[in-house]
Amino acid sequence: MRFFEFEAREIVKRAGIPVTDFGFATSREAAKEAAERIGGSVVIKSQVLTGGRMKAGGVKFADTPEEAAAHAEDILALEIGGHMPRGVLVDPKAEVEQEYYAGVVWDGLRKQPVMLFSDMGGIDIEQVAEEHPDHVGRGHFSTLLPVSDFQAKQVIAQTGVSGSPLNRITPILTRLARLFLEHDLTLAEINPLGRLKDGSFVALDAHMDIENEARGRHAKLLADLGVGPEETRQAREATPFELAGEEVDATDHRGVAGNVTEFDGNLGLVIGAGGGSLTLFDAVRAHGGKPANYCEIGGNPSVAKTCGLAKLVLGKPGVEQIAVMMSIVSNTRVDIVARGVIKACLELGFDPSEKIAIFRIPGAWEEEGFKILEKYGVDYADRSVSLNEAARRAVEKIQGVAA
C-alpha cells in the first residue's frame, strides 16, 4: 500500500531524518493558516497517489498566505489521473543548493534490501541509472545484522560524494534503511534530498509503500497516520462489483472465492486457482473471448461461498454465460464447486445447462462432481481437455449465443 507524501514525510520525520516544517491541509482556510505559520514563500502540493502532479497543475508556488489559500482551493478541486487529492501539503520554499536521491528497495534475486544513492536527485532514479550510471551508488544489506553507518557511507562514496556532504548524508541513508526494515516497506525514497545553503540536508519529498501482508503489525503507525483498515489504495479503486466479491470471500473462512477484478465483457469467469486463473484468462482472450471478470477460487471453498461468487458473476450486467474452469485440483473438491455454481444458477432462475458454457475442473472428487453436472445437463470436461481447449469451447459457445 502506497503512502501519501504527507504520510511518508511523517514517517521520515519520526525516524529522525530532517524534514521541512510542512503542513497538511484539506481546506482553503487550513492551507492559509499553515502558510501563515510557516511564513514566507510556500509550495502547495496536491496529495494524490499518482505521478505527474507538476504537469497536471497540482504543484503551485505562493508568496503570501492569501495566494496559498487560493492555490489550495484550486488544487483541492483538481482531479489528477482519475484521483481526487486527499489534501494539500504546504511546504516552505527551500533554497536548495543541490538535490540528491536516497532510496531503499528489495532485490528479489539477491533476496536482500538494497540502498540506492545518487548525487543527481529530483528526477527518476531509473533515468539516472540509465543515463549516468556512475552517479548511482548501490549496496545490499543484511536483514539479520544491524544496519551500520559504514554501509551507507560506502554507497554514497561510490558516486564521488566526499567532504561534509558525505558525513551529513550517511546517517540519513542509514536511518532510511532501518526504517525500511522496521516498517516492512517495499519502497522508501527521499527524492529530492536537498542540500541547503547552510550545508544541512532536508527531505523535500518522500515515497513509501508498505507491504500489505505486514499491515497487521503496523496497526499503531497506520492508526497514527489515520489510515483506515479498509483503505487498499490499489492502482485503481475497487468497483462496487469488486467490493461485493470481497464480501463473498469474507462470508466464511473456508478457502478462497474472490480476488475479483471487473472487466466489461460478456463471459463471466468462475476460475482458479492462482496460476490457473492467469492461464485461463489469457486463454479466453487469445480465443477472442471477452471476460466480464477475473477471479480466483481455491483452497476448497464452501458451497455457499462458491455459490455466492457464481451468483455475483451471473448477476453482473452484460454477462450472458459463465465458464467454470480450474487447473487440476487437489484440495479443492470438484463436487463442491459443481454444487455451488449449479445452486447459483437455480437460485437466479437460470437453467444451469444454458448458463454454464463449460465446466472444466478435474481432480479431487471429480466422479461425484461430474455426476451432479450430468444430472443438470451441464457441458463438462475432464483433464484430457486442456485449459486452453476449455477456454476455446466457452468462447465459441458464447459467440454462438451472441450471434
Binding site: W106, G108, L109, K111, Q112, P113, E126, S142, T143, L144, L181, D184, T186, E211, E213, A214, G216, R217, Q234, A235, R236, N259, T261, G272, A273, G274, G275, G276, S277, L278, T279, F281, D282, A283, R285, A286, Y294, E296, G298, M326, S327, I328, V329, S330, N331, G363, A364, R383, S384, S386, L387, N388, E389
Partner: protein
C-alpha cells in the same frame, strides 16, 4: 534419481495439528513408498499423534526422539509464527525447509533465507506446495491425496519447476499423458522473494542423471526468468528448457497484482513480453499453450542427443 528428496528422506511437519497439515501428513504417508514423517511439532501438543506421527512441543524434542539429524521440515504454521518456526528448524540442523504458509512479509522471508544460507540449509517456498518425486515420495501438499497425485505424476526424465502449485500438477499431468514422466517436480512459490529460484535449482537438475529436460511455469513480476536465462547461457546447460508464461494480460495493467503476491508489473523487465524475449535469447522456448509443451521438450531433447552432446 531425483533432486532434493528421495525415499530415504526424513522430515517433520511443523504445525502438524492444523487441519491442512493433518491432511498433508496423511497424503505424504500414503504416497509412493510412504514418506518418513518422523515427527510433528505444535507447541503445547506434546504426546499427541497425527496418523501415527508423534507430536512434540519443539523441533529439538523431535530430533532427540528420532535419534539422528532430520533432513527436512514442512512448515505450515500461520504467517505471524513462520519465521520463528523456520529459525527453529534451521537451528536444530534441518537442511531442507518447505514453507507452505502464504502471506508472509518479505522482511521475514529475507531473514529466513539469510539464516538458511549461513547454516547451509535450503528453503523451498514460501507459498508453495512442496516437492514430489513420482511414485517415490512427496513432501508437502503437492498433487493432493496420494490417489490424485498418482493420477497426475509419473516417473520420467523431465524436471518441473513452477511458481504456481496447482499448475505444477496441471503441467505434470499433461506431460504424463504424453508419456513424459517427471524426475522431480518442485513448486517454488509465487512470492516476490522465495528460498529457491529456477536458477538455484538448475545445478541440482544438471547433476541428476535421470533429468533430460526442464519445464517451467512462470508469471509476470520479478527477475527470476532473467536469472534463469543467464544461468543457462553461462553454464552451457546440457538441459533444454521449455517455459510456459501465464498472465500475459497483466502487461496492460501495471501496478496490479493477480494470482500470486509476486506478480506485479512495476518496471519494463517485469512484463510477460520482456521475459519471453529474455528467455528466447537464452534458447529457452516459451510455449503458447500447455498442450504444446510435451512435443516442444521432446523435440529439444532429441535435438540435443542428435547433436552428440551429453547423452540423454
Amino acid at each position: 534419481m531425483s533432486i532434493l528428496i528421495d525415499a530415504e528422506t526424513t522430515f517433520i511437519v511443523q504445525g502438524i495439528t492444523g487441519r491442512e497439515a493433518v491432511n498433508l501428513t496423511r497424503e505424504c504417508l500414503d504416497y509412493g513408498s510412504g514418506a518418513k514423517v518422523v515427527g510433528g511439532v505444535t507447541p503445547g501438543r506434546l504426546g499427541r499423534d497425527v496418523h501415527g506421527v508423534p507430536v512434540f512441543d519443539t523441533v529439538a524434542q523431535a530430533v532427540e526422539h528420532h535419534g539422528a539429524p532430520i533432513d527436512g521440515s514442512v512448515v505450515t504454521v500461520p504467517p505471524a509464527f513462520t519465521k520463528d518456526a523456520v529459525f527453529e528448524a534451521i537451528e536444530n540442523g534441518v537442511k531442507l525447509i518447505v514453507i507452505v504458509t502464504e502471506r508472509i512479509p518479505r522482511r521475514d522471508v529475507a531473514e529466513m533465507v539469510e539464516l538458511a544460507a549461513l547454516r547451509g540449509a535450503r528453503i523451498i517456498g514460501p507459498n508453495c506446495l512442496g516437492i514430489i518425486v513420482p511414485d517415490v515420495i512427496k513432501m508437502g501438499g503437492i498433487g493432493g491425496p496420494a490417489k490424485n497425485a498418482a493420477q497426475a505424476y509419473t516417473p520420467g526424465p523431465i524436471g518441473v519447476i513452477s511458481r504456481s502449485g496447482g499448475m505444477t500438477t496441471e503441467m505434470s499431468s499433461t506431460l504424463s499423458a504424453a508419456g513424459l514422466g517427471q524426475s522431480t517436480a518442485v513448486s517454488i512459490g509465487g512470492d516476490a522473494i522465495i528460498g529457491s529460484s529456477y536458477a538455484e535449482l538448475m545445478p541440482l537438475f544438471e547433476a541428476d542423471a535421470q533429468t533430460e529436460g526442464i519445464v517451467i511455469y512462470t508469471e509476470p513480476g520479478g527477475r527470476m526468468e532473467a536469472e534463469l536465462a543467464g544461468w543457462v547461457t553461462e553454464h552451457s546447460s546440457r538441459l533444454p528448457v521449455v517455459a510456459f508464461m501465464a498472465g500475459r494480460f497483466m502487461d496492460e495493467m501495471p501496478g496490479m497484482s493477480f494470482g500470486h503476491a509476486g506478480t506485479i508489473v512495476e518496471g519494463k523487465e517485469d512484463t510477460a513480453s520482456e521475459k519471453i524475449a529474455r528467455l528466447a535469447q537464452a534458447g529457452i522456448s516459451v510455449a503458447e499453450r500447455i498442450e504444446d509443451i510435451p512435443e516442444m521438450i521432446r523435440s529439444k531433447i532429441s535435438e540435443r542427443s542428435r547433436a552428440g552432446g551429453v547423452s540423454a
